[in-house]
């Protein structure tokens, strides 16, 4: 491996593939533990043993775990996630529809939250320990420490109930026009954005402050450079790597944040799907959605690592 960039990225990629494989095994084991009595749960306590056995054969539960895992993995690689126990529909079709809605939610939020979060973080770092910094930091600490549903219900109480501006429940479907859809999903987007901005702002602030404390910045100050020049010419090139990390890690965070928020606003996304599946003990759906969530999570972490390696010259030219 002569290329230095490849030689640090390839091991990380291999690690990512290994982790994805491990995650799929763990999720299967987790769901398998559930499989034991799902048939008796569907058929009720009084079911004949023969009926239960027939049901287990139909679901493939009578075969050993590793055989089922291999078969499931083979199907997944071909894009087949099985059929739902609750409504007999294709899991991949259900996930596909919901995934689009969740991605819409995440993308709209990111579009707004990423610039605002980074901007607030930079402002707080530049004017640290001032009134502005204290105000921003306290507000974001409050948002981070509160559960997502608290933020969600407060916004719902204000904008949907008291002011009546926005719908409390997000009925979204693909036939809606751009603005109708934006209005319908405004509250979940706002909730998710508040939480994400808070995380992003704190991480940006911390990384900028640690950067500003480094000797070469002090040198630039002692030389008498203008603050704007210090930030743009000296600090920013080295800040890209932490900022990329902040953005991607927060996208990963959003993936989990959507679960609770979608339930609050009855938003038809992937998060609401997995919660419903868990409450109905719908194994194939749980397995499929959990795999989608975990894959997105793993891939984003991988992306964060690789991008920050590429953005950081010191990591690129390591001796």
């Amino acid at each position: 491996m002569n290329n230095p960039v490849l030689s640090i990225i390839l091991p990380r990629l291999a690690m990512g593939v290994f982790i994805l494989f491990g995650v799929s095994v763990l999720i299967t084991i987790g769901v398998e533990a559930l499989a034991g009595d799902v048939c008796s749960a569907i058929l009720g306590q009084a079911a004949e043993p023969s009926t239960v056995a027939a049901c287990q054969a139909q679901l493939g539960l009578d075969r050993p775990v590793h055989i089922r895992y291999i078969k499931w993995l083979g199907n997944v690689l071909q894009g087949d996630l099985g059929t739902s126990l609750a409504n007999q529909r294709e899991v991949s079709e259900q996930i596909g529809k919901r995934l689009g809605n969740t991605l819409y939610l995440a993308a709209t939020t990111a579009l707004f939250a990423v610039p605002v979060g980074i901007l607030l973080g930079v402002i707080a770092a530049l004017y640290r320990n001032s009134f502005i910094d204290n105000a921003i930091s306290t507000t974001t600490l409050t948002t981070i420490a509160s559960p997502e549903f608290f933020v969600g219900y407060v916004l719902m109480a204000i904008f949907a109930v008291n002011l009546g501006w926005l719908p409390a429940i997000s009925n979204v479907d693909s036939s809606m026009g751009f603005f109708t859809r934006l209005e319908a999903s405004a509250l979940p987007v706002m909730t998710l954005a508040m939480v994400t901005v808070a995380h992003m702002m704190r991480m940006t602030r911390a990384s900028i402050i640690s950067l500003l404390a480094s000797p070469y910045i002090e040198m630039a100050k002692l030389k008498g450079l203008k603050p704007s020049r210090i930030i743009i010419k000296h600090a920013l090139p080295n800040a890209w790597s932490p900022i990329i990390q902040v953005v991607v890690l927060n996208l990963a965070y959003m993936i989990v944040g959507v679960v609770v928020i979608e339930v609050v606003f009855v938003y038809p996304g992937l998060g609401a799907l997995i919660v419903d599946a868990v409450l109905n003990r719908d194994l194939p759906v749980i397995q499929g959605t959990a795999m989608v969530f975990a894959t997105a999570y793993v891939l984003l972490f991988l992306l964060a690592d690789i991008l920050s390696m590429l953005a950081n010259p010191r990591l690129r030219h390591r001796r």
Partner: protein, 277 residues
Amino acid sequence: MKQFIAFWKDLNLSARIGLVIVSFFAFCAIFAPWLAPYGESEIVGDVWEPIGGEFFFGTDQIGRDLLSRLIFGARNTMALAIVSTTVSFTAGAVLGFIAATMGGRVDQVLSRLVDVVISIPTLIASLIVLSAVGTATSTLILVIGIIYAMPVFRIARAVAMDIEVMDYVEAARLRGEGLWWLMSREILPNAMTPLAAEFGLRFCFVFLLIASLSFLGLGLQPPLADWGAMVRGNADGIAWGFMHPLIPAACIAALTIGINLLIDRWVFKASGLRDDQ
């Protein structure tokens, strides 16, 4: 008392506010049966009686006194979080120390396993496992404890790795001390401070996870009062203009903010390592 005053003086304003909030909720939790005006699952009035009327915080979706439920909920939710965090620290620290002390293949296997488990978002992981094994209180504690043992493992391992290279550990090794001695007599006493500081922060995460889980219907089962479940149970009221679900939600927020304010001051100094997941 003197020690307490010294401790109090050492805190800044926000940490003091945090301490007051945390002590208030701890007091409610400990003396719940004496403080609560009504029983935990006693139906005392109509559905959603107004806040500030005959009942201080009104009544909930089936007519139970909300204040009493809140006080008992403080006890249930906090106890669950404390026990789960303790389980996660015990398991995580023991395995982390073993990995650091034994090194080699044991360390490799444990670390890779943790890498995999930590790659599943905690909420998703607990949803899968809890839907599989049910939500008895003991299972909840075990599942949350094991899931949160993973980050603790990483921290404990990193801390123990630094201690493990010290001369006095080397000396103990040469003396022929066994694994248990090395872990409990050489590493543990020196790892205590950073781990203790970490405990507060992890308690917050665990507390929020429990709140989210019970909000999603997978927490403590009724009639036990639980803050997250109280939010969900009363949520329908919001559409009719009843603000009842905001009260338990605000309690969750207040407690975690209080802990954060309190630990903000020393956790970040005491523990050299952060892994914000």
